[in-house]
């Protein structure tokens, strides 16, 4: 982009140089001068509704609104003169004309912008003696409540819902003092229930159904940690009081998601304290699961694993990992399987072909991986497959931001008319893999019409440079090769993001929960890699090719005699009949909730959830972030601890080595040193930032050997989150949650 013209202006006698086109309010912010504002919100359209930001500009006849005033060369601005102070006082007096000032009961009290402004700039009394206009509070949905008298009509909510969310569920009705925000269905909302409007409201007019009247902001401690649900890795700030999470929002705006959270990140924390949580180990005895102590349960698991291994050999044991456990836990599970048990039968529910993408990119990976933050700055975006608005809400938010504020062009290829098409420059409805084949090599089975549409898209996209490509699980193996071939033909540096399903889907893959890969995608068949990890883990690693998840499940009771499942529900995800798993000699499940799989397990070990432990998650774009522990649940143990204890127990039976690392940090250190792409700097990570990871693989045609059906998305919506879905009481309480994926999409 061309160098922007710089201009000089003076604010409160301080000279400053800024790029032309900057708003005066932003210039003041840069100088650390506060210009009070309500309706101004960076990234949303300008409204100039509240008149709180009035400043004096020399040579201008009247006070000007700093939020709409573009700085020009030689401008002289005063933000703290008597006319300005008086204007602020008067504006606040107007805003408070009908305001109830019931701060003691108002949820916003203590963190209310109106309170703060009145305290700082307001008058001590009001000249209005008229009766205040009052309206009773309205419940718009289970999650969104509206208290009209508190509203100061800044229209932030209307704009965030329209421009930010592309939902347009809020509008303004009536005139004058009777003006009020109204929901799209008259008396209630039908929307995405993201709660963005609640968070962005500067006052207590919009309140959250989950947090209403529970406590006050200064009574809680705040824990910022990555969201436990989808793969986008939003930072959510959990508000904790008395070992209970009371709300989640984006208080510190410290994540790459900034103000964004979807319904799950904002309201989907209540599973943590759900009464159905598993709180003690269960051991099957004479056909029925009975509560057991941790000592008993772990001893039984260790003894039986050892016995099965001795009798049938290590290949009779399978290990199924999770999309939600931390990198450290995945790494340890990998070690547990390959070093302690000695089997390569390790897999997880793969929701995106991260290995395929890394292999296709090869050396290019560090430059060609698209980070979540970069997506919002992209100038041209190609979305292939997936339904980001529902499956990857932050990705969709970033794309909308890029289109809205950066003028990005959006190109979409999807078999379904996904919601983002409304913002697209070009949308082609076609089977994704076929379309790609066509783009890369001119082949593919497509109708003439689709081919024509694709050609148009291609012509346009070839004019772009630095295209950001975002794709779903529809593309895997060979199709990713086609994609990267196509991307290489485009101008500039093409970057890619594969979209997976869950909080640490990417981490599970990177940490090698795949039969053929050690951590960092080093091949099991590679003797040097085996040797290196073998030395690290104190044993020789097996070279016998491992089974993938489907093969393990198919062989359950046949070749596979024992299955060790961590945070996964294969009965549901892979649709294996429960009876089949019941034929195993040993089924051990580490889980946080009862599932169809725990029901047939021989031993169930209750695990801690993502909000109850430390460690790291890698989001789908390869941003590594640290988890912070918010609460404790008595009885459960982190998957990390469970694996450690079990390895210790097995070592006592003469199998493998106990794990020396006692904390996730120690394992992270090992990961940083030994896993390709994970040698990140700790400082930023510890400070709560995100660090990019990108394992570099040698170009490897074998990477495309992925069986059909090995990689698939669960197609979660805004209101579902895999096996956690049924325990998300608040998220499930809204009407929209009852709509199916197709209905939800078509409702819009």
């Amino acid at each position: 982009m061309a160098e922007q013209k710089q201009i000089r202006l003076k604010i409160d006698d301080r000279e400053v140089t800024v790029p032309a086109g900057t708003l005066v309010i932003e210039v003041a912010k840069r100088l650390g001068i506060e210009v009070p504002s309500f309706c101004y919100y960076p990234g949303l359209s300008l409204q100039a509704a509240c008149r709180m930001c009035l400043v004096e500009v020399e040579k201008a006849p009247k006070l000007q609104t700093a939020c709409t005033l573009v700085a020009v060369d030689g401008m002289v601005v005063h933000t703290n003169t008597e006319p300005v102070r008086k204007a602020r006082r008067d504006m606040l007096e107007f805003l408070l004309t009908n305001h109830p000032l019931d701060c003691p009961v108002c949820d916003k009290g203590g963190e209310c912008e109106l309170q703060d402004m009145t305290f700082r700039y307001g008058a001590d009394s009001s000249r209005f003696v008229e009766l205040k206009v009052h309206q009773p509070e309205e419940k718009w949905s289970e999650l969104v409540y509206f208290d009209m008298p508190r509203c100061i009509l800044c229209f932030r909510c209307v704009r965030i819902c329209d421009e930010g969310m592309d939902v347009k569920a809020l509008g303004v009705g009536s005139r004058g003092v009777y003006s009020a925000i109204i929901p799209n269905r008259g008396d209630h909302l039908e929307c995405e229930e993201c709660g963005m409007c609640i968070d962005i409201c500067p006052v207590g007019a919009l309140t959250s159904g989950t947090y209403r009247y529970k406590t006050r902001p200064w009574e809680m401690k705040y824990v910022a940690t990555p969201c436990a649900h989808c793969s986008n890795g939003c930072k959510t700030t959990l508000s904790v009081r008395n070992n209970q999470i009371l709300r989640a929002n984006n208080r510190d705006l410290s994540g790459f998601n900034r103000e964004f959270l979807c319904a799950k990140g904002r309201f989907g924390f209540d599973f943590v304290s759900h009464e159905a949580r598993l709180k003690f180990p269960l051991v099957r005895e004479n056909g029925a699961q009975k509560p057991a102590s941790w000592e008993q349960a772990v001893r039984i698991v260790a003894e039986r694993l050892k016995a099965i291994r001795d009798r049938y050999g290590p290949e009779a044991i399978g290990v199924l990992g999770s999309n939600r456990t931390t990198n450290e836990e995945n790494y340890l599970l990998n070690r547990f399987a390959r070093a302690t048990l000695g089997t390569n039968n390790v897999d997880h529910h793969r929701t995106a072909d991260y290995a395929g993408l890394a292999a296709a990119l090869g050396e290019e990976a560090p430059r060609a991986m698209l980070r979540m933050e970069e997506l919002r700055e992209a100038k041209a975006i190609l979305v292939i497959g997936n339904e980001p608005s529902y499956q990857n809400p932050l990705v969709a938010w970033q794309i909308r931001w890029a289109v809205r504020n950066g003028g990005a062009r959006l190109y979409i290829i999807n078999a379904q008319p996904i919601k983002l098409r409304r913002r697209a420059t070009c949308f082609v409805q076609a089977d994704e893999a076929e379309a790609l084949r066509h783009l890369a090599s001119g082949g593919g089975q497509l109708s003439a019409e689709t081919r024509h549409a694709l050609q148009e898209l291609e012509t346009e996209i070839r004019k772009e440079s630095d295209v950001a490509i975002v794709f779903g699980a529809e593309l895997y193996a060979k199709a990713i090769g086609d994609l990267v071939d196509f991307g290489r033909q485009l101008n500039g540096q093409t970057r890619y993001m594969a979209l997976g399903d869950y909080a640490n889907s990417r981490g599970a893959s990177d940490m090698g929960l795949l039969p053929e890969f050690l951590p960092g995608y080093e091949r099991v068949s590679d003797a040097a890699a085996r040797e290196r990890f073998g030395r690290l883990w104190g044993t020789e690693l097996s070279v016998v090719a491992g089974l993938d998840a489907r093969a393990m499940l198919n062989e359950a009771g046949e070749k596979i005699k024992a299955l060790y499942v961590v945070g996964s529900n294969p009965v549901k995800t892979f649709e294996v009949p429960a009876e089949k798993l019941a034929r195993l000699e040993l089924l051990v499940v580490q889980e946080i909730f009862p599932t169809e799989t725990t029901a047939v397990a021989d031993v169930v070990l209750p695990a801690a959830s993502a909000y109850e432990k430390e460690g790291t998650f890698t989001n789908t774009a390869g941003d590594l972030q640290m988890l912070r522990k918010a609460v404790d649940l008595p009885g459960v143990r982190s998957d990390f601890d469970i694996l450690r204890i079990l390895a210790h127990q097995l070592a006592r039976l003469g199998l493998g080595q106990p794990f020396a690392a006692r904390t996730p940090e120690e394992v992270l250190e090992e990961i940083r040193q030994h896993v390709r792409g994970y040698a990140v700097s700790l400082a930023n990570l510890l400070a709560g930032g995100a660090e990019p990871v990108h394992p570099v693989l040698e170009a490897d045609p074998k990477a495309y050997d992925v069986p059909v059906g090995a990689i698939f998305s669960s197609r979660d919506t805004l209101f579902s989150s895999g096996s956690l879905t049924r325990y998300l009481k608040m998220v499930r309480s809204v009407n929209e949650a009852r709509l199916s994926y197709e209905e939800l999409r078509n409702a819009k």
């Binding site: 701060c103 003691p104 009961v105 009290g109 406590t215 200064w218």
Partner: protein, 161 residues
């Protein structure tokens, strides 16, 4: 001689002065409190055990705003809030205190809570008999702090306006 006389004069003078005070007070009402035989008389602003007040309809005045807990330098006030519903209306506002505890093993009777209360819900009563052998008994729950309803004659005095 004159020295002895002077001595005597000052001694008698001092005695007379002293007894004058005694005699003057003989006719005054005694200030002695005959506690525990008789109830104690308090100055109206005495800061004793707190009383949570009710409004004229018997609803609790406290709206669980947590300001008293925030103001308390001894951090001895613990509150859990909940929302009033049509079926279960406890206070006049939207919120009420589901739990309201004051820990008298920590309270220093500074009166900051009373000062900070926007609804005049918490007041100092004139209760002072806190002695106990069991320190946990010093944790007073809302039920114990609340003004009884319907009002009883013997309850704490009305809050200061």
């Amino acid at each position: 001689m004159s020295a002895a006389l002077y001595e005597l004069k000052t001694a008698v003078g001092a005695l007379l002065k002293g007894f004058a005070v005694t005699f003057r007070n003989l006719w005054r009402k005694p200030v002695t409190e005959h506690y525990p035989d008789a109830p104690v008389n308090f100055m109206p602003r005495y800061r004793g055990i707190h009383v949570l007040q009710r409004d004229e309809n018997g609803l609790e005045k406290c709206v669980a705003c947590f300001l008293c807990a925030a103001a308390c330098p001894a951090q001895c006030i613990y509150i859990e809030a909940a929302e009033n519903t049509a079926e279960n209306r406890i206070s006049a506002g939207e919120r009420y205190a589901r739990v309201y505890n004051i820990d008298y093993s920590r309270c220093i009777f500074c009166g900051y809570c009373v000062e900070s209360c926007p609804t005049d819900a918490i007041t100092h009563g004139h209760g002072f008999e806190l002695a106990t052998y069991d320190v946990t008994a010093l944790l007073y729950r809302k039920e114990k702090l609340l003004e009884p309803w319907p009002p009883q004659k013997t309850s704490a005095p009305a809050p200061l306006a």
